[in-house]
């Protein structure tokens, strides 16, 4: 007669002589990791398919002479595990000896030296000498792309790169060719990679088989100062750790797996920092003298601009301020304060890329409806509307894909063209921009069956459509969270800090809304137009009376070329401050390097204000952020998280945002993985890859 017993909730076992307890379904290698005992492994990598191919993790179980791989063995009741028995020690030593048969002694010239997992393991577990005296098998190095180089001799064939590219990024650009000792990693199509050039394969490689062509032979890791900061490009807010030597950024990665993104970075985050030291970086203020922009001193430029501003202010003239999607929260807050209190104008705007405002208004009175990055990985279902997520929001796409892989999350894709999510979407549809709300009705029943839903929408859903979308979501009868997708590193912060004519910081309506950006550029008859970190005149000219144009930027852009005065600005990697990502999480910027002659925008505002005799407050990032925390709705964030490099969620704003907002102002920049506005024009690495400029909704 069969009796059924409830499954156990606790497993008892013995590890190295100690009694331990763990949950059912725990892998041996994770149990030891939890307890701080190292079981070395190459091919095991958390989050990706288990392999047991490298055989480094062999341990002794139940006194059997046949060793078992710790990475695929589940801990069972009463199991006796030895990770340091003589047999295990000998097995590890011999496994490393086998590996070093063909692995070349390249350490003196290999980029990975000093941070190489094989080096570490040989030191810890290997023999001091090799007994191999024959000739090693060797193949020459190969260039897979302008960025990714592969050395077959060094490769230990752990297949981490293949898995991260296929499972992690959904690109599947790498595979394995040949057999036995001739096995090599190779591009799946042809002999050159056709991929995102993200470099994840390089960073996940435990040895120096895959190396970065932008970094090779330049330095040693212990010569670098590692500075954690937030990537300057898209709105997802990946943490990137810059390796700096002698005031030069040598590389960027996130190998310590910290931040929202863990080990994820795209090409922009990992390689797109080199715009920072482009030769054309502005290093001196410029002033138009005799029709030509000439370098002048800071004092001359500042006093000229201050004089002009005071003159216009005294005469009751019209100011216009166009802010940036990329400047920090502190800079945005200070700028709008300068405009409103210092210059007495509400004519302040920026290039808006997503309709956060209508979303916040539509969600008024509801709690917990704005998603954070964690929701991307945990939500049981997600609906993507009008965005080629892998191109435009690569971290969001990565988290969704991980969610699908690990939790079988159900993904719905409603986009104007094919997207990478199609491959594993529960439902997908091609719907032109503007017709999504109608099309969603056809998915109502299916979506209502989900336990919960996360809705992400791009710029094709704006204004009234956002309200209709929220009505739709709320009518499903399940918990729904939303993300309004915006484009750049601080697009969200620009709105939160009131770089808008109709809103003050914290979504407080202005009593007297000012001019929008298009209005400022067309027949506004402004006396002064101050453009900070934006490039609206790259492809079009101002119409109407020509104002006194002051521009702050990194490069002499199309807009800066039209200016009367240009101030050289510092980049995101050169200043302290905070930025807010697309999911409303605040992260800090750290100053990693300095470019001679450039100043942070905040400092320029402060100096200009001082020159004008204004009292706008101290212009250090810390002081301004303290004021933000006091005065701006939603920004009373937890300081310890922020200070330690984490992401502090803004508390969602709750209440009607009574504004007259023009949805036609919302337009996404339509960047791909290989472009990021004018900044990436100056990135040599991004310009070197054949995949640039890339294409959204690329047909398969």
């Amino acid at each position: 007669m069969a009796t059924t017993t409830a499954p156990p909730t606790v497993i008892n076992a013995k590890l190295n002589g100690q009694d331990i307890q763990t949950k059912p379904g725990t892998l041996l290698i994770n149990l030891t990791k939890e307890l701080g005992i190292e079981v070395p492994a190459f091919c095991y990598y958390e989050g990706f398919t288990l392999q047991a191919a490298c055989r480094m993790c062999l341990v002794q179980v139940n006194n059997s002479p046949k060793l078992l791989p710790g990475c695929t063995t589940m801990v069972t009741e009463g199991m006796v595990i030895e990770t340091e028995s003589p047999l295990v020690v000998e097995a590890r030593k011999s496994m490393l000896e086998f590996l070093l048969v063909n692995h070349p002694l390249d350490c003196p010239v290999c980029d990975k030296g000093g941070e190489c997992e094989l080096q570490d393991m040989v030191f810890k577990y290997g023999a001091g000498e090799s007994r191999f005296v024959d000739i090693k098998h060797h193949e020459p190095e190969r260039a897979f792309s302008p960025v990714v180089y592969y050395d077959p001799a060094r490769c230990i064939l752990c297949y981490r790169c293949v898995r991260v590219c296929d499972e992690g990024y959904g690109v599947n650009a790498l595979g394995v060719i040949n057999r036995g000792v001739h096995s090599e990693i190779a591009p799946n199509l042809g002999d050159q990679l056709n991929c995102d050039e993200c470099g994840a394969c390089i960073d996940i490689c435990p040895v120096g088989a895959l190396t970065s062509n932008t970094y090779r032979y330049k330095t040693r890791p212990w010569e670098l100062k590692h500075v954690g900061t937030t990537c300057a490009h898209c709105s997802n807010g990946c943490k990137t750790t810059l390796g700096v030597r002698n005031d030069e950024i040598m590389r960027a990665n996130n190998r310590d797996s910290s931040g929202l993104n863990e080990e994820f970075l795209c090409i922009k985050g990992r390689f797109g920092f080199d715009f920072n030291h482009h030769a054309e970086r502005l290093q001196s203020p410029l002033m138009r003298i005799d029709g030509q922009l000439q370098p002048v001193s800071w004092s001359k430029a500042l006093s000229a601009v201050a004089a002009k501003f005071l003159e216009v202010k005294a005469a009751g003239g019209k100011f216009g301020v166009i802010g940036s999607n990329r400047t920090s929260n502190e800079e945005n807050y200070y700028l709008q304060k300068f405009a409103r209190h210092g210059l007495g104008t509400n004519n302040i705007d920026h290039a808006r890329t997503g309709d956060v405002v209508t979303l916040v208004d539509a969600l008024s009175g509801k709690q917990g409806k704005l998603a954070t990055m964690a929701d991307l990985y945990q939500s049981k279902a997600a609906l993507v509307i009008g965005s080629d997520l892998s191109q435009q929001h690569p971290l969001l796409a990565y988290e969704l894909r991980r969610n699908w892989r690990h939790h079988q999350a159900r993904i719905y894709a409603m986009t104007p063209g094919p997207v990478r999510e199609d491959k594993y979407a529960a439902m997908k549809a091609r719907v032109p921009a503007g017709q999504e709300i109608a099309a969603l009705e056809g998915w109502r029943d299916q979506l209502a069956k989900e336990g919960e839903l996360l809705i992400l929408f791009g710029d094709s859903v704006k204004g009234e459509a956002v309200r209709q979308l929220v009505d739709f979501g709320e009518s499903l009868g399940i918990p729904v969270k939303y993300v309004a997708l915006v484009d750049y590193a601080n697009s969200r912060g620009a709105i939160d800090m009131g770089l808008t004519p109709e809103l003050l910081p914290g979504f407080v309506p202005s009593q007297k809304p000012g001019l929008t950006m298009p209005d400022m550029l067309d027949g506004a008859d402004l006396d002064v137009l101050w453009i900070v970190g934006a490039n609206p005149l790259e492809r079009r000219s101002l119409t109407g009376k020509r104002p006194f144009l002051v521009v702050q930027d990194l490069f002499l852009t199309g807009t800066a070329s039209e200016a009367d005065v240009v101030f050289p600005a510092a980049s995101a990697y050169e200043k302290k401050g905070t930025v807010t990502n697309v999911t409303g999480e605040v992260q800090r910027l750290s100053a990693a390097v300095k470019t001679m002659g450039a100043k942070a925008d905040l400092e320029i505002f402060g100096l200009l204000g001082k020159e004008m005799g204004l009292d706008l407050g101290i212009w250090t990032a810390d002081a301004v952020f303290a004021e933000i925390r006091q005065n701006v709705r939603a920004y009373n964030v937890t300081m310890p998280i922020l200070a330690s490099g984490g992401a502090a969620p803004t508390t969602p704003v709750n209440g009607r945002v009574n504004v007259e907002m023009r949805p036609d102002l919302i337009q996404s920049a339509g960047d791909t993985l290989f472009t990021s506005g004018s900044m990436t024009k100056y990135s040599q690495v991004l310009n070197s890859v054949p995949e640039r400029p890339g294409q959204l909704y690329k047909p398969v």
Partner: protein, 435 residues
């Protein structure tokens, strides 16, 4: 065929060998072809499995797992499709029997697969044929077409309402694809590297569905077992190794070839009575009884039965039934090099110890074969083989390490002699130069 039949043979699987056009269905039908399938349909699935169990048939591909027990593992009522896969990737050095069965009696193979298909509620079967057996594919496809025509394959077979389609799939020259999980990966269009087990193919095989994988000879044996009854087959071997097997004997014997012998046969009987013994004036040096993967036997160890358990007890294995005989003219060092070269070439490269270990062993043995080296190298071979054994991802590593280790252990003296001779030659060459 390679050889004249021996009067000592018990010709069950090879009963039609030599009959004109034995590969065509007319010849097969004239010799009770497909009677086994009809009987299986009559008996029903449970009875079929019991009959295979009772026959004590052990897998003929090399592992010798009890076939009836394997058949009982398939979850026949699973909602997933069930697959029958015939492993015709015969690549074990010394083994050349499956090719003869396909060439001379393909219908007995098709019948055995169909019996399995019926028993497992399967609708699809695949014969994975080694790529080098290109010439056999045409024979198989003709036979399969004939079987379709006669309603032994296809829709509503023999009026049962059961459909079964059978396909031939060609390999592309990889020994590792004879490993069942690597075979399944290859069949799915992936690289021929093995899979993690558990789960096993019985539950998660082809396309992660329940799959029965058996060797060619195993399926053929089933045909005869079902048609004539388990006892009729089992009686030819000891209790746990029933029936006959096609034994392939090669090397320094006078009548090398393939002989279908009872599993109660002993090695001396096969070597001497059946294969004609050694050439005149020669003495026995060594025997590998189970293909190149089996530990080598010294002459004094050769008085052993050829069934699975006797050979296992003797510290070696029956494997795929390829017996290689070496006399005193054989250079054991060269033989060891030949064996390890095979495994090094065939190593799929998935795991470190096999990929690097076989390469290293080959390089050392190349040197030793040239006489360059010392006894320390011989000791090193033994140690490396020990470090590989049991630690690789699949059995190919064991197949490389086990025989190699046994050779350097049991024939240490020969290595010593060869190295000393080469050293002496070097010394005398130097003396000539000086002198």
């Amino acid at each position: 065929m390679f050889n004249q039949p021996s009067p000592h043979e018990v010709k069950i699987l090879t009963r039609c060998f030599g009959v004109e056009n034995s590969h065509r269905i007319d010849a097969s039908l004239a010799h009770q072809g497909y009677d086994g399938l009809k009987k299986a349909i009559e008996m029903g699935a449970d009875a079929v499995i019991n009959e295979v169990k009772a026959s004590a048939l052990r897998g003929r591909g090399g592992a010798g797992f009890p076939t009836g027990l394997k058949w009982s593992f398939i979850p026949r009522t699973s909602p997933k499709p069930k697959y029958i896969v015939c492993n015709a990737d015969e690549s074990e050095p010394g083994t050349c029997k499956d090719r003869l069965l396909i060439q001379n009696d393909p219908h007995s193979l098709i019948e055995g697969i169909a019996i399995a298909g019926f028993t497992m509620n399967s609708n699809k079967g695949y014969i994975y044929v080694r790529g080098e057996y290109r010439y056999l594919i045409a024979i198989l496809e003709t036979a399969i077409a004939e079987a379709y025509q006669h309603n032994f394959l296809g829709k509503n077979i023999q009026g049962t309402g059961w459909d079964f389609d059978l396909y031939v799939h060609s390999g592309a020259g990889a020994y590792e694809c004879g490993e069942e999980s690597a075979l399944l990966n290859s069949l799915e269009g992936k690289r021929g590297t093995p899979r993690l087990k558990p789960p096993f193919p019985a539950t998660h095989g082809l396309y992660q569905s329940p799959t029965l994988v058996n060797n060619v000879e195993s399926f053929c044996a089933v045909t005869h077992i079902i048609r004539d009854g388990a006892a009729e087959f089992a009686k030819h071997g000891p209790e746990k190794s029933g029936g006959t097997r096609l034994m392939c004997i090669s090397g320094h014997v006078q009548r090398p070839g393939v002989y279908e012998m009872p599993l109660s046969t002993t090695l001396p009987f096969l070597m001497n009575e059946v294969a004609g013994g050694l050439r005149p004036g020669r003495t026995l040096k060594a025997v590998q009884p189970g293909g190149s993967s089996s530990p080598i036997l010294l002459p004094e160890e050769c008085n052993v039965g050829l069934d699975f358990d006797s050979l296992a007890k003797a510290g070696t294995m029956a494997g795929s039934g390829g017996i290689v005989v070496l006399d005193d003219t054989a250079d054991i060092v060269s033989y060891a090099l030949r064996i390890i070269s095979f495994y090094q070439h065939e190593s799929c490269g998935w795991c470190i110890p096999c990929r690097e270990g076989t390469t290293w062993l080959k390089k050392i043995l190349e040197r030793l074969d040239r006489g360059e080296g010392s006894m320390k190298d011989v000791d090193l071979v033994g140690e490396l083989a020990k470090n590989m054994f049991g630690r690789t991802f699949c059995a190919l590593g064991d197949a490389a390490a086990w025989p190699t280790g046994s050779i350097v252990k049991k024939f240490r003296g020969e290595f010593e002699t060869k190295l000393a001779a080469h050293q002496a030659k070097q010394v005398s060459a130097e003396l000539v130069m000086i002198g």
